[in-house]
């Protein structure tokens, strides 16, 4: 994580056991699990330069505009959500061939650092609710974005 003047940048890397073209296509295909579009309840996706996307999950909407779509090596789009406080953050993906696999890098930059995105109330309550499962000796439950964003039960 890079941190400067309250603007954050996150960088993630994964090695995917498939060639770059297949991974690139998989990232833009809403039917493939793991890409952001796959979890959407409502989705509009036009993955070409200046094409727009909209997706929503449990009442949280995300918007963006594709700025680079270069198969099979690179995708870049803007990303706006309540967590970006109306600012356009940038998501950049690169896909590099590594033998028979692909080194996939995702950089999410221009994110404002603020309380809403850090330990926000829903996430905190969610965490407390499943505290027993996470830290007790019973079965553990995986963190799920959907659960953390569902309305808090009081």
């Amino acid at each position: 994580m890079k941190h400067s003047k309250n603007i954050l940048e996150f960088r993630f890397e994964r090695t995917i056991p498939a060639p770059p073209g297949e991974v690139f296509d998989g990232w833009l295909n809403p039917k493939i699990p793991g890409n952001p579009w796959n979890a959407a309840e409502k989705l509009i996706l036009d993955p070409q330069v200046d094409g727009l996307f909209y997706w929503t999950l449990k009442g949280t909407s995300h918007y963006g505009r594709f700025t680079e779509v270069e198969r099979p090596g690179r995708i870049q789009h803007t990303w706006m959500s309540p967590n970006t406080l109306g600012q356009e953050s940038i998501v950049t993906l690169t896909f590099k061939k590594q033998g028979e696999e692909t080194l996939m890098t995702l950089v999410h930059s221009g994110l404002p650092d603020h309380e809403l995105a850090r330990g926000h109330e829903n996430g905190w309550n969610y965490f407390l609710n499943i505290f027993h499962e996470q830290f007790g000796d019973g079965p553990r439950r995986k963190y799920r974005w959907e659960d953390a964003h569902s309305p808090v039960k009081k």
Binding site: F10, P33, W124, F127
Partner: protein
């Protein structure tokens, strides 16, 4: 060490997590805390000291008994330490990677048939 490191260290051991899970039900006396574990009492004492240092438990005297109770506040720091998008992208990318791993496995199995 800073507080976050103390908390993460305290949570890193399964016995300590089990103790916290037990105390989340309510305060308990030392021997009641130690009862479910098949370890020496001084080992339980060491675990409790680490939990206490992290601020995850506190001891209170009630009459002649000392009760140990769970404090959730330090966990807020752990939750706040991870940014929402750090969790979101890690979750998505893990799932994406797993999809391709499964696909590769399936392909291998089909080739072997």
């Amino acid at each position: 060490m800073d507080r976050l490191t103390d908390v993460l260290t305290a949570l890193s051991h399964p016995t300590r997590r089990a103790i916290i899970g037990q105390l989340a039900n309510g305060p308990a006396r030392f021997l009641d805390v130690a009862k479910p574990f098949d370890i020496a009492l001084n080992a339980v004492t060491k675990h409790l000291k680490l939990l206490e240092r992290a601020g995850l438990i506190e001891r209170r005297k009630k009459g002649r008994e000392v009760y140990i109770s769970f404090r959730g506040e330090p966990l807020r720091e752990v939750v706040g330490w991870v940014h929402e998008y750090e969790r979101f992208w890690n979750e998505r990318l893990d799932e994406f990677e797993q999809f391709f791993k499964n696909k590769k496995e399936r392909r291998k199995s089909n080739e072997a048939l």
